[in-house]
Amino acid sequence: MKKLLIALIAAAAVTATTIIVFTGDDAISRTSSITTLADYEYEIPPGTGGRTDAGEELDIFPLLLEVRVGESIRIVNNDDRDHLIGAFFVGAGETLTQEFVSSGVLTGECSIRPGSSFTLRVSE
């Protein structure tokens, strides 16, 4: 019984530690932007701007991304240039994160594919 009690208390302690890590206000935003995997992950690799300037067609983002409310996107910009991906502006060296909370359509130009746009369609 004593062993069971110790195990229960230890489990409670571990659970508490884990939950504190993931429920603290700061912890949530940081872990969600750094460690938690998003449903849609994209990386803009180093040299992307230069390759685009040279006329190369890069297939990093689709023209249309259809997602559902509750899903999330993360865009890591490892290029030394800022990029505009539809409605998303991602500065050089930055990471953008968003979870989709409402349905709708966002369309905007895409700096990685000059002359074309990136459309994000969020549905329930």
């Binding site: 069971l4 009690l5 229960l8 206000d25 935003s29 968003q98 909370v101 409402s102 709708g104």
Partner: protein, 194 residues
């Protein structure tokens, strides 16, 4: 002994309950590391005084880059923001500033324009192109005024931005973000969530 076991079980249950409530995600998107507008100023078009692009102490500052002749995007966005602010109990902690990307036409009229939506909002603008570019840079706001065809055409980015009292960009709301989502995000930010 039973009491101790029960106590441990209740502890587990209450921890689980605290976690199970969940927390809504921000509707706006987050940029990491967050850019800052601290130290960047633009003139208030009404008073002429320089306005730093940071919120007052414990407030939030919502910024928008637009122009008064905008036929659709700007009025829609400002109306959405107006509705979002009306939904807040503590809207007095939200400051709003509109920055014109079309200063040649807007400096005289921008203050009345933005105040027709939000009476407490400030109108900022300058004909100094480099000052405007510096102000737009942390937000990634872009704009282009083209009068080469005889008619003035203005293109501009359409997002709303919110910064804290240190000028840290907390969220960006793309055009079309629902006013309910904006107000929910502002409520969470005002409660200290980051």
């Amino acid at each position: 002994m039973r009491r101790v076991v029960l106590g441990a079980a209740i502890t587990l249950l209450s921890i689980t309950s605290a976690c199970g409530g969940g927390q809504r995600e921000f509707a706006g998107f987050v940029r990491t590391p967050a850019p800052s507008s601290q130290g960047i100023t633009l003139p208030n078009v009404a008073s002429g005084a320089d306005r730093e692009l940071v919120a007052g102490n414990n407030n939030l500052l919502v910024l928008y880059f637009g122009f008064t002749n905008c036929p659709d995007i700007c009025p829609t966005t400002l109306q959405d923001l107006t509705v979002a602010l009306r939904r807040l109990d503590n809207a007095s902690h939200i400051e709003v500033a509109m920055i014109t990307v079309d200063p040649d036409r807007d400096l005289e009229v921008l203050d009345a324009y933005i105040k027709s939506f939000i009476p407490t909002a400030e109108a900022l603008g300058t004909v100094d192109e480099s000052a405007l570019a510096i102000a737009a840079q942390p937000f990634g706001a872009s704009y282009l005024v083209d009068d080469s065809g005889g008619e003035i055409e203005v293109a501009h980015s359409t997002s709303l931005y919110v910064v804290d009292d240190e000028g840290t960009l907390l969220l960006t709301w793309p055009f079309g973000t629902a006013s309910t989502d904006i107000s929910a995000d502002l409520r969470d930010l005002l409660s200290g969530r980051r």
